[in-house]
Structure formats: C-alpha cells, structure tokens
C-alpha cells in the first residue's frame, strides 16, 4: 500500500515567499488554460485577448491601475483581519457602505471647496465602512458569533440598501428612469490623472500599504495582532485584550474598505449606480492571500489581478465569453497558492506501507 507522508520542513528559506505566489499563478493559469480548452475555448486565443486588452494600449494599462485601486484597499482591509485569524469576508459590503456614505455626504453636507469636501467624504466613508465591519467584530468579540457568516450576510444587506437608495429616494430625477444617483458636483470629485480614470484613491491605497506594513511589523500593536493570530493562548496569558483588538481590526478593516467605496464613487464614477461594487471585495481576498498577508506586496499583486479583470472585459467583448469566466482563473490561482503553501511547509514523501501489524501501529 502506498501512502503520502507529510514531513514538516525545518528550514524555511526566504525565497519561499516569492516562489509560492509565482508558482501558484503560473500553475493556476495553466490549469485554467486546460479547463478553457476542455470547454471549447482556445486558451491561447483567450490569454492573448487578456494580454492584448490589458497591455495592448495605454488605455488598457491605465484601466489596470484604475481597477487595482479598490482591489488594493479591499485586500488591505481583509489582510489586517486575517493576520488575527478573523475571517472578515465582508469588504464588498463595507465598500458599499463607504460608497453610500460618500453620496450621503455630498447630498447633505456639500461644501463648495474640494479640500473640505475631501475630508468630509473621507471621514464619512471610513466611519460607515468601519461600523459595518465593526458590527461583525463586536458580535464576534462579545458572543463569539461566526464572523465569516455575519460579514457575508452584511454584504447582501449593504448591497440591497444601496439599491434602495439608487432606485428610491436618491434616484436622479434627470436620469430618465435609469437607476443611478445624480452626478457629483466638481468640488466633490477626486483628482484624476490627465485623460485616464486613475484617481487620487491610488495615493490613499499606496500610503495605507506602507503604513500597514510598518505598523504590523514594527509597532507594539502590530506585534499584539501577530501574537493573537499565531498563538491566542500566549496572547491571553500575556494580558492582551483580544476582544478589544477584534473590534479594532474589524473597524479599521471596514474603514479601509469604506475608503475603496469613496474612491469608486467620488473618484471613478461620480455617482452611484447599480452593480458598482463589481465584486472587488472578493478579489481583495484573493490578493490578500497571494500577498502572503504582507501589505507591501499588495500593490503588485493587485496590479496582477487588475490585469485579469481588464482582460476579462476584453474576453467579453472580443470572444463573447461571460465576464465571470475570469473568476475561474481567480479561483484556480487561489487554490494553487493554498496548495503551494502546504508544499512549502511540508516535504511530501511517498512511503510504501507493508500490511504487517508493526507497521500499521506506527
């Protein structure tokens, strides 16, 4: 009889951090290509369309960066929670609440000065997203309510609330019945780079990636978070306040995702329309894992996922495939990174097990 035996690796060389995501992406794309060809889609044609759409023009390149802005933020939002083993998968809903708060800020607190308006929107979006994440954190901290489920349910609640406003009280009277809110006045729009759609959200995202890297690695609080994540028992003996930290990271994570919502509304669209969340919250989870929970890798990996998303648009236009096809690649890459992580932790040996009682007892 043959059995697989997993022996822990004692050494953990530094190159593993790079090799794992790279191998995972390559393997994921290979498996995806195989799947495409089984389903009657020429994988070379599909990948060529993706690459061409993404890198074939300045427009494509700028779109990758544009899409990677919300992805970076939602990835950071998830990452800070995952560090503590809090499975917050609610960035989608937190982004949505941030967006709603941004629209509300413009409707009710409009000041005709872009700097003041920016601060108002920033605070509103961060608080709204933070509360949305913090609800799940509070329930987890107080009564140990499963945060995976609550954050996810809150996604659906948030999206339905946004649709209530889009179709109901905030619908643009000039929209001829189309479901979106009124266009923002200029003072409420974020800075946009030239003729591209890249907006000021990119600075927020990059700055947060650096700040989180520094805080998680070198601050006392960051140390606490890591200890709670890696060894909750030790953290409790060490007198760390786990409940407080759970609420804190879910609030901060939610606030970061809320800022992604502000970027999408005030930076990109200038109004809120149906389906604007685009699933960025879920893409962020993939990015957080591919980055191996290091904030500093998040921008690079977000760019990579941005390539896939822009490529997905092209797949739809050029080859008539549903945009969701690109999710197969995302899923397979995520599977691969998980598998690769195990392979980096363990040496796998194939052992022959003889049926003797002595061997069986082992």
């Amino acid at each position: 009889m043959i059995r697989l035996k997993f022996e822990p690796r004692l050494d953990n060389p530094a190159w593993v951090n790079v090799l794992i995501p790279v191998t995972a992406v390559v393997f994921g794309l290979f498996a995806g290509g195989l799947l495409f060809s089984i389903l009657g889609v020429n994988p070379f044609e599909a990948y060529w369309a993706v690459l061409n759409g993404a890198f074939g023009s300045i427009y494509g390149l700028s779109e990758i960066v544009t899409k990677s802005i919300p992805i970076m933020l939602t990835a950071l939002a998830g990452l800070i929670c995952y560090k503590m083993l809090i499975w917050n998968i609610g960035a989608e809903g937190q982004l949505c609440m941030g967006a709603i708060a941004t629209v509300a800020a413009v409707r009710f607190f409009f000041v005709d000065n872009w700097a003041v308006m920016f601060v108002i929107m920033f605070i509103a979006a961060a608080i709204a997203g933070g509360i949305w994440g913090g609800i799940a954190g509070f329930l987890k901290a107080k009564w140990n309510v499963n945060e995976t489920i609550t954050t996810l349910m809150l996604n659906y609640v948030a999206i339905n609330i946004s649709e209530y406003f889009i179709y109901g009280p905030w619908k643009d009277p000039m929209s001829w019945g189309f479901p979106f809110t009124a266009n923002f006045p200029d003072a409420a729009r974020l800075w946009v780079w030239g003729s591209t759609r890249i907006h000021a959200g990119i600075f927020i995202a990059l700055a947060l990636a650096v700040i989180l890297q520094v805080v998680l690695k070198w601050s006392k609080w960051g140390y606490e978070i890591r200890v709670i994540g890696e060894n909750p028992r030790a953290a409790r003996y060490g007198g760390m306040n786990i409940a407080k930290n759970i609420i804190l990271v879910t609030f901060i994570g939610g606030a970061i995702a809320g800022l992604a919502g502000m970027g999408e509304i005030a930076g990109l669209h200038g109004r809120m329309s149906r389906g604007f969340t685009m699933g960025y919250g879920y893409t962020g989870i993939t990015v957080a894992w591919l980055s191996r929970l290091s904030p500093i890798y998040v921008p690079l990996v977000s760019f990579l996922l941005g390539v896939l998303l822009v490529g997905g648009d092209t797949l739809q236009v050029v080859m008539g495939l549903p945009m969701a096809s690109i999710q197969i690649l995302q899923g397979l890459i995520l599977f691969s990174v998980l598998a690769a992580e195990t392979l980096s932790r363990f040496r796998i040996k194939i052992v022959r097990v003889s049926a003797g009682p002595a061997e069986e007892a082992k």
Binding site: V41, W289, A324
Partner: protein, 309 residues
C-alpha cells in the same frame, strides 16, 4: 387562512433548494470539513442539472447529474482541505469563484432556454388532510424526497454505526484513528457526498424551480445554507426548520411585493440576511452560556497522524 396556507406552502417550495445544500453541509461539517464553497457547488449543480434535463428530457437524470457534478467539483476542496491540510475558509472561497466562473462559462450557450421541469402532484390521502395537506403534500417529487432525506439523515447520524463513525471523525479524529476508523476516507466521502447534496440544491433551482439557467441564479443561497447549519446546530431536522423559515421570509417578501406593498423590495430583501445574523447571534449567546450545541470539536481542523496534540 388561505393566505397563511399559501405562504407556508411556498415557504416549503422555496426553502427546498437551501434545504438540500444545508443537509449536505451538515454531513460534511459533522465529519469535520467545512465547505464554504456551497454557492459555487450549487451553481455547478444548477447548470449541470439544467443541461442534462435539456438534452435528455428527463428531470430525474438532471437531478442525478447535479448530484455527481456537485460531488465532483467538491473533490478539489476535499483534496486541499483533507490531504493538503489547507485553510478551509480560503479554499471554500476559491470554490465559490471557480464554481461561479465555471457555471457561467458552461451556461453561456443555454441562456433563455426553458425546460419542462417536474409537475407538482397531490400525495394520496396525506394531500387531502385539511391545512396540513396543502402545505406539505401538494408539491413536486423533489420536495417529498427531501422529507425522506431529513428523516434518513437523522436516523443515519444518530442511530447507526456508520453515523457514529462519521461523527467520531468530526469530534476526535485521533481517537477515531486509534479505533481503526479510516479518518481520511470518511472525510473524503462525506465531504463529497455533502457537495453532491448541494449540487442537488442547485439542480432543484434550475430544473424544478426556475426551469431555466440564469448566471449566478443561486443568489446567495449557498451562503445562507452555511449559516443555517449553525442555526440548526448541526442537526438535520433543526436545519430543515431553518431552511423553511428562510423560505418563508422569501415567500412573504415576494407576496408583499405582489400586493403592491409600499415598503421597498430592496429593503424587504435584506430580511433573510438580517434574520440569519440575528438567529446566529442568539444561538451563539446560548452557546456562550454553556448550552450544549453539537458543533463538531474538530471542525475545520486538519488531521495528520504524525501530529501530537
């Protein structure tokens, strides 16, 4: 009275797809493997069920195909979580992405087509009981199958040797291993069996309920099913109650919309999700007070024979 009967009957009808997925997850989690990817598995089942029914004209074959498709796609999750000992939350998410994308890509050619589905029929005798009959016994065959499944799973999990082994693997795999129970095989089998039931849940949606294929047609039901397992405290009968409660809220919301209620449809649609959160909170508070729950102790803990506790 008629209104109440109509609501309750449609609660059963619209709760059934969630019910199948929930029962599947109960079995899988009882064996210690959490599958958050039900949403993706259901979609794969929904597409497969529709496609097979469409080409064979037989809804039963379609439902069977959705079972096998659901089990097959769950093999990826099982391999990662059981053999490779990966993080079950993330693997589940990857499952959702893959299943969604795969079903969308597969289903691109059949959008807009319809099939015959399964006609409802009145159960002899039982269907004539006043009040009870119209609520429970005037449905399609897959609803009746689900009644049998609830009873069968309750009996199997708590009254048979094999069910005891299954629970042992989820409670204490080390002890089970020492007893000579093949932990790995059992986990593989029930994880995939659970995926198969989720596949049927999807198949029910496309073959019986909607009678067509729509991209992303599960609309969050897979996630609701994961939550309902906790609501049902890993007990098939209680989980069924949860599924019907969810179906009831959905039915009520549709009914209110049809009656031209002034409350926004979007806000009503938040009800099932809010209800799930509230119920989950109540359950968790009770759990905190030491009321015994039935959560498998080794849920989402990988088993490696060489590990020491």
């Amino acid at each position: 009275m008629d209104f109440l009967v109509a609501i309750l009957a449609s609660a059963i009808r619209s709760g059934t797809p969630v019910l199948y997925a929930t029962l599947g997850e109960v079995v899988s989690e009882r064996a210690g493997v959490m599958n958050l990817g039900l949403e993706g598995v259901m979609l794969v089942g929904a597409y497969t069920g529709f496609a097979v029914t469409r080409s064979t004209g037989d809804p039963w074959l379609g439902i069977m195909a959705s079972f096998f498709a659901g089990a097959a796609i769950t093999l990826i999750h099982a391999f990662l979580c059981i053999t490779l000992m990966c993080n079950q939350v993330v693997s589940g998410l990857a499952m959702v992405l893959t299943g969604y994308g795969l079903s969308a890509l597969l289903g691109r050619g059949v959008i807009g087509e319809t099939i015959a589905g399964m006609a409802p029929f009145k159960m002899p005798l039982l269907g004539d009981i006043p009040f009870i009959g119209p609520i429970f016994f005037q449905h399609n065959a897959m609803v009746y199958v689900s009644y049998l499944l609830i009873a069968a799973l309750c009996w199997f999990l708590f009254r048979t040797r094999a069910g005891l082994n299954l629970r042992a693997v989820g409670e204490n795999p080390r002890a089970a291993d020492a007893m000579g129970i093949p932990v790995t095989y059992i986990r593989y089998f029930y994880c995939m069996f659970g995926g198969g039931l989720a596949g049927i849940g999807g198949g029910y949606l496309s073959v019986v309920y909607a009678q067509m294929w729509i991209e992303g047609m599960t609309a969050g039901r897979g996630w609701i099913a994961v939550a309902l397992v906790i609501f049902g405290l890993w007990n098939p009968a209680r989980a069924a109650l949860g599924a019907y409660l969810f179906g009831g809220v959905e039915a009520l919301q549709l009914r209110m919309q049809a009656m031209g209620s002034s409350i926004s449809a979007s806000l009503l649609l938040t009800l099932p999700y809010l209800m799930t959160i509230i119920v989950l909170t109540i359950v968790s508070i009770r759990a905190g007070k030491g009321i015994l729950l039935g959560a498998p102790a080794a849920l989402s803990v990988p088993f490696r024979r060489e590990d020491r506790d």
